[in-house]
């Protein structure tokens, strides 16, 4: 056919190419990974990270130190109770011991996220190992892991951490993440175990077994890729829980004391009666930032749910 109309063949060829390109582009946006919830959520989290990383270069992080700025200044455009106007030198205001709020947020927000990521990474690693062992080996191993995760999922981490902090004392950010991870492996373990148990019956795993694939290959080459959306979802969910717990601990005046975290800023605000002194920027800015962070994490999680569970997708 292309022989009969030489020119037409060229045109239709180019057309076809363009159509294929368009289809490819559409397909890329059609992928479940490109759903609006996931994109918005990821955008928020990346935004907060960039705010923390770039902020260090654009703003002076030394301003987090006590007495590095005037006291009790409101944000630009507002007045505090003494009638002082906000100054552009401290756009988000300052608190009672002369720390610049913007600098506190720039240094504190990544710290808070970091605690969650550390706890979640370690928790996930333990969870993947235990979940696969429980689902695969079965028997006694499964019983022990199942009971242990049932037991540990019930114990509220905040209470144990309060006991830890009041008796051992001062800890750093890394240590905080490590401590929290001790309470973050249970739900991934249960999730992965359940998935592995159901996947073991599936055709492709039996096929792989019949064709002589090693247990390691079956676990990590056949099963793990199918678990990716679940793993991401679980990662985000436990990072959220870890951050919530860390913030809770910090608002009790515990947790890392030497480095600013968002929870610690809120603690100092409550402790200095910022609510009564109408210094809303002191507790309000970290609260708003944390709330944005949690909303972002929730959206990512809901988006990942849609990836893992096609039933939830809108047609």
């Amino acid at each position: 056919m292309a022989d009969a109309t030489g020119m037409g063949g060229v045109v239709s060829d180019a057309d076809e190419k363009a159509a294929r390109r368009r289809a490819k582009r559409l397909k890329r946006f059609d992928s479940p990974w490109m759903n609006p919830k996931l994109l918005t959520g990821a955008g928020i989290i990346v935004g907060i990270l960039l705010f923390g990383l770039l902020g260090r270069f654009l703003w002076d992080p030394e301003l987090v130190f006590i007495g590095s700025a005037p006291l009790n200044l409101p944000p630009v455009g507002f007045e505090n109770l003494r009638g002082e106007p906000g100054s552009p030198a401290h756009p988000l205001g300052t608190q009672s011991s002369g720390r610049d709020m913007l600098a506190l947020m720039i240094v504190g927000a990544p710290n808070t996220l970091f605690i969650g990521v550390i706890a979640s990474l370690i928790g996930m690693t333990i969870g993947i190992l235990l979940g696969f062992s429980a689902g695969f080996i079965g028997g006694r191993t499964d019983d022990v892991i199942r009971v242990l995760s049932d037991v540990m999922i019930t114990i509220p981490p905040l209470m144990v951490l309060i006991v830890f902090q009041t008796s051992i004392g001062e800890i750093g950010i890394l240590m905080m993440g490590v401590l929290l991870s001790g309470f973050m492996w249970q739900s991934p373990t249960r999730l992965i175990r359940a998935q592995v148990l159901s996947m073991r019956q599936s055709g492709y795993v039996r096929m792989a077994k019949l064709s002589g694939a090693s247990t390691f290959d079956i676990m990590f080459k056949e099963m793990l890729p199918n678990l990716v959306p679940y793993l991401f979802g679980s990662f985000i969910a436990i990072a959220t829980t870890a951050i919530v717990t860390a913030v809770g601990l910090e608002t009790l005046g515990l947790g890392p004391q030497r480095v600013p975290t968002l929870g610690r800023v809120i603690y100092e605000a409550i402790d200095s009666a910022a609510l009564l002194r109408n210094m809303w920027w002191w507790w309000g800015i970290p609260t708003a930032l944390l709330a944005t962070m949690f909303v972002g994490l929730l959206l990512v999680n809901l988006g990942l749910d849609e990836v893992a569970n096609p039933k939830l997708r809108k047609v």
Partner: protein, 342 residues
């Protein structure tokens, strides 16, 4: 693998749940016993230090140290201390408070617990009802359009810990508008008892703490309910009910929600730990008379006996709620009872 059962619930299931409960409490109790023993600080010396800080000079310090160690059983071998500790836990004996010497810790806990439990039951029930209604309406096909937009918008708060919503509500309704009192769990001039002024005062003081929990927890139930409703919607019996020409509202209440709501009860078991600790933090910012304030004051005073006792009670409360949900569930959901247990 015995086939004996109570009202259709296999005994092995009940035994399993009880075993998990006791193991949870035992492990948690052991952990909060071991942690302080890893600390380099000698509690007797710390107590003596506190005395010295108050009095300036303490006579016979060595003798007092020995006495203190004997009084708190610190001179015994570790295993014996552990056994004594476990035995005391069973009768809720946590020793005496250092800050409010010599009030027994159990007495302070008993005073705080009703406030915490009351606030919790109240806020959890409200959140459960609102959340499940919201979730059901989100999934229901007949729901007006406005609600389908409004409900998910409200659920953005789901992920925010209650302490943050508490701060916002406190600032807005207590500090700015002064509609509700800022802190406390009842008015300073009320005499606790069964009079109307006191009850009204308790309700007024409890509204904001309860609200700050409800705003951020109802979305959890709503999300779960939506998922369950979408599954129920495609079930044959719902299709049949529609084909019979039953009113959509009747189908929603009698066919869909009734079947979807049961698994929601088990979701509570997963959430209870976060609920309890979230509430403790809310109580702390509102200076509500419950466990939260008790724990915060104890942290400030380094009153370790109170911290340990309160932690134990909170863990016990959490584990007991999970146990109760697990034990009740087969009785309210016949599918579990007759479906072979798994």
């Amino acid at each position: 693998m015995s086939n004996r059962s109570i009202a259709g619930v296999p005994l092995s299931y009940i035994g399993n749940r009880l075993f998990t409960f006791f193991l949870t409490v035992l492990i948690a109790a052991s952990v909060i016993w071991i942690i302080p023993r890893l600390s380099p600080v000698d509690p007797a010396e710390a107590m003596l230090g506190r005395m010295a800080a108050g009095a300036g000079f303490v006579e016979n310090a060595d003798q007092i140290l020995v006495d203190l160690r004997a009084r708190f059983g610190l001179d015994e071998p570790l295993w014996k201390q552990y056994v004594v500790y476990l035995k005391n836990l069973m009768v809720f004996d946590f020793g005496v408070s250092v800050a409010n010497f010599p009030t027994p810790v159990s007495q302070m806990l008993a005073a705080a617990l009703p406030w915490t439990l009351g606030l919790m039951i109240f806020s959890v029930l409200i959140a459960f009802v609102i959340g499940n209604a919201a979730g059901a309406f989100m999934a229901w096909q007949e729901t007006p359009r406005i609600w389908k937009i409004a409900i998910p918008a409200a659920m953005v708060f789901t992920s925010i810990p209650p302490i943050l919503s508490g701060l916002l509500l406190m600032w807005l309704f207590a500090a700015q508008l002064e509609w509700f009192p800022l802190t406390g769990s009842y008015g300073l001039f009320e005499t606790p008892g069964l009079n109307w002024e006191f009850i009204l005062s308790v309700i007024r003081h409890g509204t904001l703490p309860a609200l700050s929990i409800v705003v951020v927890t109802f979305g959890f139930w709503a999300l779960g309910m939506r998922g369950l409703m979408t599954t129920v919607q495609s079930e044959d019996y719902v299709q049949l009910a529609k084909a019979k020409g039953l009113r959509p509202r009747y189908i929603l209440y009698r066919y869909m929600i009734r079947n979807a709501i049961l698994p929601q009860v088990t979701a509570f078991a997963l959430k209870v730990g976060l609920l309890v600790t979230g509430q403790i933090l809310v109580e702390r910012i509102f200076s509500y008379n419950g466990m939260g304030k008790l724990i915060y004051d104890a942290i400030l005073n380094q009153d370790f006996a109170v911290i340990q006792g309160a932690s134990y009670i909170v863990i016990l409360m959490t584990a007991a709620s999970v146990l109760i949900v697990d034990l009740i569930y087969p009785f309210i959901d016949p599918r579990i009872r007759h479906g072979g247990g798994q």
